[in-house]
């Protein structure tokens, strides 16, 4: 399985190197650096991990080890409109799973994946602190409350699905 290397934008790489420098290129700050890196790129492709490894003087395998250990980090690019479905206790008991199933059915992707056109991606999270609105779905920065499976189509229509 060959992999076509993605070309990182130079400006973004410089920004990433700046992040590393802001942590004194300290290998002990790997998690913080990765956190910021994911903020810049939206995800952590192999190429980003290689830059981080080089800057912090760490083996790439170690960086990859940390990236795969923490569920927060992802190597999958997020969609233009990242959909997060809350699976916290309150949302779950009020039917979040059915809402998730509906998103998966309509978009035809699984949790952690993006649609082929790169428009949507689905992820799950635990409690956004709006339990009164359960079940809660966020798309980008926008929060949707009391979502029912029937309402999923309408929500997606807002994003020209």
């Amino acid at each position: 399985m060959s992999h076509i290397k993605i070309q990182l934008k130079e400006a973004q790489v410089n920004q990433l190197k700046e992040v590393c420098r802001s942590f004194d290129n300290d290998p002990g700050e790997l998690i913080n650096v990765l956190h910021k890196a994911q903020g810049i790129f939206g995800y952590l492709p192999a190429e980003v991990q290689e830059v981080v490894a080089r800057e912090l003087q760490l083996p790439v395998a170690k960086v990859y080890g940390v990236v795969t250990f923490y569920s927060f980090f992802t190597m999958q690019p997020k969609g233009l409109h990242p959909i997060s479905i809350c699976m916290g206790t309150a949302c779950y008991v009020r039917g979040a799973e059915k809402v998730l199933d509906e998103f998966r059915r309509i978009l035809n992707i699984n949790v952690g994946e993006s649609t082929a056109d790169g428009k949507f991606s689905i992820s799950c999270l635990r409690c956004v602190g709006a339990c009164g609105l359960a079940p809660v779905v966020t798309i980008g920065e926008k929060v949707y409350g009391r979502v029912s499976p029937d309402g999923v189509k309408d929500i997606l229509r807002e994003y020209e699905f």
Partner: protein, 611 residues
């Protein structure tokens, strides 16, 4: 004046260290009272009074300070009175007044449970596993009398990864992480790391690519320390047997210096037994047509590498600013892979001399083939090596001619031992036999290639005499010997002080390389070997299970063999002299350049990321 926070911490740590050094701890282990220094673990303390606590993930190579104690497997748990939970002995430090029980019923039951849980996620391949008989998990199961696994659950499944030298069968991994320690802390290669989490976690290279796509040097130290069959060598014994059975092939074998000092261990002989003659006899019984010695090629290496050292030195002394010093040895293939991957800007510094294995192959398939009237393709060259990187080395494209490799198969010492056992040869009762001519004669200088410091000592013996034209006053350079990781010595070349550096272990080599890179290196010549102790501790040697005394005994044996040899300087080897007269011409000459020298590649771009 108020101390800054950082100073405060340093001061406090200093006081702690002081207290640590002085404080003695009195405790009781299994009803025996004893006193130990502060900082000593229960495992170490118990050992001092003859109590062996079983371990699995723990690994310690004695004075070499190579240690792995993640405290992860929980096999070494002990009961400490007053504590609710059992404690792992390998990471729990002794404390004053502690009362420890290492083998009561609660402890034994807990250990059995732990072991059964580990076994519940382990394939039952013992009958066909190449580690069978040497597996530490298997021997624990035997020792604990496990006859039934009371737990059934999911088994982790991972793809098998096959490289030219090492096979990863991760289903057999117990996550002791010894390989990770060797690869990262000792060798500083950084290839292996624990990835993913929980039940999904495995030890793998970055992005879970295969080893042959990573920066792996194939040093094989991960294989040396793996307690199970998760990491093993690529086995070529079958191919060798097929070649031996093929009537159209003439099969030639060469044996590396360190093999003779370790092979006996596989047949129950004490570590450090020299079995050169028995090994030759066994190889002949196996059906090899010619039994030759890599030591012959080691003498040849010295002729070329020593001449190269002198050439660079002479040019340097004449004021040539382009000459690269220090010169680095190049016979260790793990080390060659290391600098190709990690120091590509320095690939013009090592000697261009091929390793003895490859020099042997190149000469065998030309000079020898002519001599015995055979075509190249009808000659099969097999090498017996203490090394796994040699398996990769002989597959390098530059070491072949029209697709026919100079060395066809490299077997490890362990594989040879298996072959001998398969053939039902009573190894220990064999009569000693001698190597064949013309590629079997060698000097003591060649034998010591098998240990750290040996290659450079051999080079010094020859370079000194070639340079000064005088006979060496003494042959034993004690200052170059030992097991210290980084050593240095100055050898007087009749008024010209030659500064020599030695490192074994790639992490230690890295230190010397960083010095060169920074322009701070003061050496003329540096010898580097990838494995602890040099080839005696190679990745293809019989397993030591962390016993440093085995390495020491092998090293002693190597120097004994050197002493025993009538010839102790490479340039005095008559077979080598004849080879130059009849075939090669002169060291560094045109023919030598063509057959005995190589070049190195920048491999930093070769790392492929697979999905």
């Amino acid at each position: 004046m108020r101390l800054k926070y950082a100073d405060n911490v340093i001061f406090r740590n200093y006081l702690k260290d002081q207290a640590k050094n002085m404080e003695q701890i009195a405790l009781t282990i299994d009803n025996k009272k004893l006193t130990v220094e502060k900082g000593v673990t229960i495992l170490q303390a118990a050992r001092t009074i003859g109590i062996e606590i079983p371990t699995l993930c723990y690994f310690n190579l004695g004075d070499l300070q190579i240690e792995n104690k993640p405290g992860g497997c929980r096999i070494c748990v002990v009961e400490i009175e007053g504590r609710k939970n059992l404690a792992p002995a390998c990471v729990t430090e002794c404390a004053t007044g502690m009362v420890v029980h290492t083998h009561n019923i609660r402890v034994l039951n807990a250990r059995r449970t732990v072991l059964e849980l580990i076994l519940s996620d382990h394939p039952f391949d013992c009958l066909v596993c190449s580690k069978s008989g040497e597996c530490e998990l298997q021997s624990l199961a035997q020792k604990f009398g496990i006859r039934e696994i009371h737990y059934q659950g999911e088994k982790s499944v991972y793809r098998k990864d096959t490289s030219p030298a090492i096979i990863r069968d991760i289903d057999k991994c117990i996550m002791c992480r010894r390989c990770e320690m060797m690869c990262n802390d000792f060798q500083t290669c950084g290839v292996l790391s624990a990835i993913n989490r929980g039940f999904q976690s495995v030890v793998a290279p970055a992005f879970e690519m295969n080893l042959d796509h990573s920066t792996c040097t194939y040093c094989g130290q991960c294989v040396s320390v793996c307690p199970t069959g998760a990491l093993t060598e690529q086995d070529h014994t079958r191919s060798v047997l097929n070649a031996l059975a093929d009537p159209t092939k003439t099969v030639v074998v060469q044996t590396a210096p360190a093999v003779r000092a370790a092979l006996g261990e596989a047949f129950g002989l004490p570590a450090g037994s020299l079995v050169t003659g028995k090994m030759v006899a066994a190889l002949r019984q196996l059906g090899f047509d010619y039994v030759f010695d890599t030591d012959f090629a080691a003498d040849l290496t010295i002729m070329e590498e020593g001449s190269e050292l002198l050439d660079r030195l002479t040019r340097h002394l004449k004021g040539d600013p382009h000459v690269k010093l220090p010169i680095l040895t190049s016979c260790c293939p793990g080390w060659v892979n290391f600098f190709e991957h990690h120091f590509p800007e320095m690939i013009d510094i090592p000697s261009t001399a091929k390793s003895p294995q490859q020099m042997f192959g190149a000469v065998a398939k030309t000079y020898l083939a002519d001599k015995i009237g055979l075509k190249r393709k009808d000659l099969v060259v097999v090498s017996i090596m203490p090394c796994l990187a040699k398996k990769y080395e002989c597959t390098r494209e530059e070491f072949s001619s029209d697709g026919n490799p100079d060395v066809d198969y490299a077997l490890s010492t362990r594989e040879l031992a298996n072959l001998i056992k398969q053939a039902n040869i009573g190894f220990t009762s064999l009569e000693d036999e001698n190597f064949d001519d013309p590629m079997g004669e060698s000097s003591g200088a060649a034998v010591i290639f098998g240990t750290t410091g040996g290659v450079i000592e051999a080079a010094v013996r020859t370079a000194y005499e070639l340079h000064t034209g005088k006979e060496l006053p003494k042959l034993d350079f004690e200052e170059l010997r030992g097991l210290e990781f980084v050593r240095s010595a100055t050898v007087d070349f009749d008024g010209l002080p030659i500064r020599i550096g030695i490192a074994h272990g790639l992490g230690n080599a890295r230190k010397l390389l960083e010095e060169i890179k920074a322009g701070r290196s003061r050496y003329h010549a540096i010898e580097i070997m990838a494995c602890p102790g040099g080839c005696i501790g190679g990745g293809g040697q019989p397993y030591t299970h962390g016993d440093i005394n085995i390495l020491k005994a092998r090293q002693k044996a190597i120097y004994e063999e050197d002493k025993r040899k009538p010839l102790r300087k490479s340039h005095e080897n008559p077979s080598i002299q004849r080879l130059y007269e009849e075939f090669l011409g002169t060291p560094l000459g045109e023919m030598s350049h063509h057959l005995l020298h190589t070049h190195y590649f920048d491999k930093t771009g070769e790392v492929i990321i697979s999905e």
